[in-house]
Amino acid sequence: MSPLSPRTTTATDRDPAISISGLVKTFGQVRALDGLDLTVSKGEVHGFLGPNGAGKTTTIRILLGLLRADAGEVRLLGGDPWRDAVALHRRLAYVPGDVSLWPKLTGGEIIDVFARLRGDIDPVRRDELLERFELDPTKKARTYSKGNRQKVGLVAALASNAELLILDEPTSGLDPLMESVFQDCVREVKEQGRTVLLSSHILAEVEALCDRVHIIRNGRTVESGTLSELRHLTRTSIDVQTERPLDGLDGLKGVHDLHVDGTRARFDVDTAHLDEAIRHLSGFGIRSLNSRPPTLEELFLRHYGDELARERRANGRPAPTPEGAAR
């Protein structure tokens, strides 16, 4: 009983909010999840990244008890997401990527429906959020645009006191202004010590909010860690101007896309080999040096881009097939 009761979390505070290992889910012939691992610690904002069709939504639907896992271990807030669905749902809030609403009800009514069905409602926070997201709650859902429907889902979730927020690409359709309101709200949620699982393919959003990220592809975890850990796996872009003409750069380990023009050079270097590259450059007398840390986007692209390129070469085909893409 104790793991499900919101009041007795002290004993389990060290436990992760979400822990998944070896998760498998098949739909007919398609293996949507193929041994996925995911751990989300309490109090963190965790990015869940992957291209379309990677299995993000399937994972979330299993966490919500909407789908049953075929194999693997899934624990959510110390409980079993299928068996303990109702008790667990009192402690979490969910926003789908495409919020579908009852056309005849107003936005305000729908927010209250969700709040009441979950169990708690904070009218003050609700009204404050309505104002921040600039949402008119007296309009029938039929008349809402995609962005406004998304806001209804966000207000309903953010107005709750849930300890875990599961957000599945929650900002699709929001304009940049609302995107920044959303980011502020998530930071507040984090300050309150609550946990967020943020599935996204908007990398700037993940970079701005997430402590740790998980990258999945074809139903498997391909990378996970803190952002700095992951950046370590990727490349830094260097633009350098030296006193003496540059030489010998192409012999260095980990240097890519090198362009040398007398005393000026532009190249990318694997972050693991950054130190050697800088040592080498300093031998020529550095006049100016610009370095750009890798963005998550580059990490993402590199991860998938390299793989795609490899597959294309291997298959001799212009586009990769889903099966061929599996590692």
């Binding site: 909407l66 709040a115 979950r118 007296t138």
Partner: protein, 528 residues
């Protein structure tokens, strides 16, 4: 002016291509309804004596006049045919026009597709003009087919042509009505509602006019098409009224459309409540709210249908007279008393229609699932069982309400006509006896929802089969084991038959078992 209509021809072709099935089904079903009824009328009243008798019966019967149409040369074959197929055909064509206009104008705007079209090299009035042209074409096609059919049935050519043209005129008038309604409101359902109200008023005005001296019928678009007196004097000039009216409505619609923004209407939608009530925050309250409109609509519809049935019930004896064919048809449904046989047959028909509500309400479960509205709901502290239960409760209790509405309408009006308050509980009972049959359909829907969610449409097939068994079982001489599949065949045909508890108990038990199995299997399956 010409640039305002640029692209009209393309849009006409596009609409016909996109809606080709819909267009053909509308035209074919109206033409079939008209011509089959006409052929049937010709067969039943095959002698002048039969025509005279029918004319006399109708003349002294305000209820029949109110329902079917004015008394115009009913003792001739043409007049009798126009009487039988006139009003119903005019209403059908009007509905066709309203639905097609609403669908091709306001619904397109509401879906945001009109915006795409308007962003192209397309004139301001092209979409509306195209819609009007398509509906005019459909009305004309219907009129031509009906005209040819009537001529084929050896009816006078002049009257047949006039009848067809009057039918077409009705479509044009209501195309105009719907066009104006589509300018006034932002919501397609309100376009249908508003135009439907005009149609209802037109029907009532002509009913009152036809019973009286005919003056009021001149204020009704349905009346205009009947003032041409097809087969009963054949005059063309009354068609000037619908022609002028249609033109005026088209102009009003065009003027209104230039004074509003795309997507907007003249009637601003009222803001709704800021907050949800506590009742809405419970699964049952939410399910009830979501299905409220449909429940009210079905109840009102069945009450009205019941009232119409009750209104003419006492006249069945006179209408049928000594016509052996009809007498036999009605009597085969059991019961020696002709009125009771008629009432029990109509009750069966009403119950079959009400089963449509039962299915629709129960299949809301699947609708909510495929619309992805259940996911966030089940991500709250609502169990799957509670959610399914909430919609099943609405479907089960709604079935009782809808049946009761039909029985009440019938009993109330029939009781008023024959001055016998006892008919109210009697007809109420005759309708409610079908409750277990409707519940079985709710159970079937729940079972399919749990076991074969992708195949829930099978339930509609089952209902269609029950329609065939119930209405055509005798005619088609279906074997008993086939008929036994329909729960309606196991329900006592009240009034007239004996009320037996056993079949009703079995049906209820089956319904509960099916619903329970559906609930249990749903709790074990994936959502998709």
């Amino acid at each position: 002016m010409m640039t305002e209509l640029t692209g009209t021809a393309t849009l006409v072709r596009f609409t016909v291509r996109r809606d080709r099935v819909r267009v053909l089904v509308w035209i074919a079903s109206i033409a079939l309804l008209e011509l089959l009824t006409a052929a049937n009328t010709k067969e039943i009243y095959s002698t002048q004596a039969a025509l005279d008798k029918a004319a006399a019966a109708a003349r002294g019967n305000p209820a029949a006049i109110a329902l079917t149409g004015p008394d115009q040369a009913l003792d001739t074959m043409g007049g009798q045919v126009a009487f039988q197929i006139g009003t119903i055909g005019l209403v059908a064509v009007a509905l066709m026009a309203v639905f097609m206009i609403g669908r091709t104008t306001r619904a397109e705007e509401e879906a945001g597709r009109a915006e795409l079209i308007r962003a192209m090299a397309v004139g301001r009035h092209a979409a509306t003009a195209a819609a009007l042209i398509v509906v005019a074409g459909m009305s004309a096609a219907t009129g031509v087919i009906v005209t040819l059919g009537l001529i084929g049935l050896d009816l006078p050519t002049h009257g047949s042509v006039l009848f067809g043209v009057s039918l077409c005129a009705e479509g044009l008038v209501f195309a105009g009505v719907a066009t104006v309604a589509a300018q006034l409101t932002e919501n397609t359902r309100l376009v249908f509602g508003g135009s439907g109200t005009v149609l209802g008023a037109a029907f009532l005005l002509r009913a009152a006019g036809d019973i009286g001296d005919g003056t009021l019928s001149w204020f009704s678009p349905i009346g205009w098409s009947q003032k041409t007196r097809p087969f009963a004097g054949d005059r063309w000039w009354p068609l000037l009224v619908p022609a002028a009216f249609t033109l005026a409505l088209a102009v009003v619609g065009a003027v209104l459309s230039t004074r509003r923004d795309v997507d907007a209407g003249f009637i601003r939608p009222r803001p709704g409540p800021r907050t949800g009530t506590a009742a809405l925050g419970r699964p049952l309250g939410l399910a009830l709210r979501l299905q409220r409109g449909s429940l009210i609509g079905w109840s009102v519809g069945l009450f009205a249908a019941g009232a119409a049935i009750g209104w003419i019930a006492d006249d069945v004896k006179d209408l049928v007279g000594d016509n052996e064919a009809i007498r036999k048809t009605i009597a085969q449904f059991g019961g020696a008393d002709l009125t009771d046989s008629y009432l029990s047959t109509q009750m069966l028909f009403g119950a079959l229609v009400a089963a449509g509500f039962a299915l629709q309400a129960a299949l809301r479960l699947r609708g909510e699932e495929t619309a992805l509205r259940v996911e966030p709901l089940l991500a709250t502290a609502v169990s799957r069982g509670r959610w399914v239960f909430s919609h099943l409760v609405v479907a089960l209790s709604g079935s009782v309400i809808v049946l009761a509405a039909g029985g009440l309408g019938c009993g109330l009006v029939y009781g008023l006509v024959i001055k016998d308050a006892g008919q109210i509980p009697r007809m109420l009972g005759a309708a409610l006896v079908y409750t277990p049959a409707l519940w079985l359909f709710v159970g079937l829907a729940a079972l399919l929802f749990g076991l074969f969610p992708r195949g829930v449409a099978v339930a509609w097939g089952a209902l269609a089969a029950c329609f065939v068994i119930g209405l055509l079982g005798e005619v088609l001489e279906l074997p008993d084991w086939v008929k036994d599949f329909s729960p309606f065949e196991h329900t006592p045909r009240l009034p007239g038959a004996d009320l037996t508890a056993l079949p009703l108990t079995v049906l209820t038990a089956l319904a509960i078992a099916a619903a329970g199995t559906g609930l249990l299997t749903f709790q074990r399956r994936d959502m998709f």
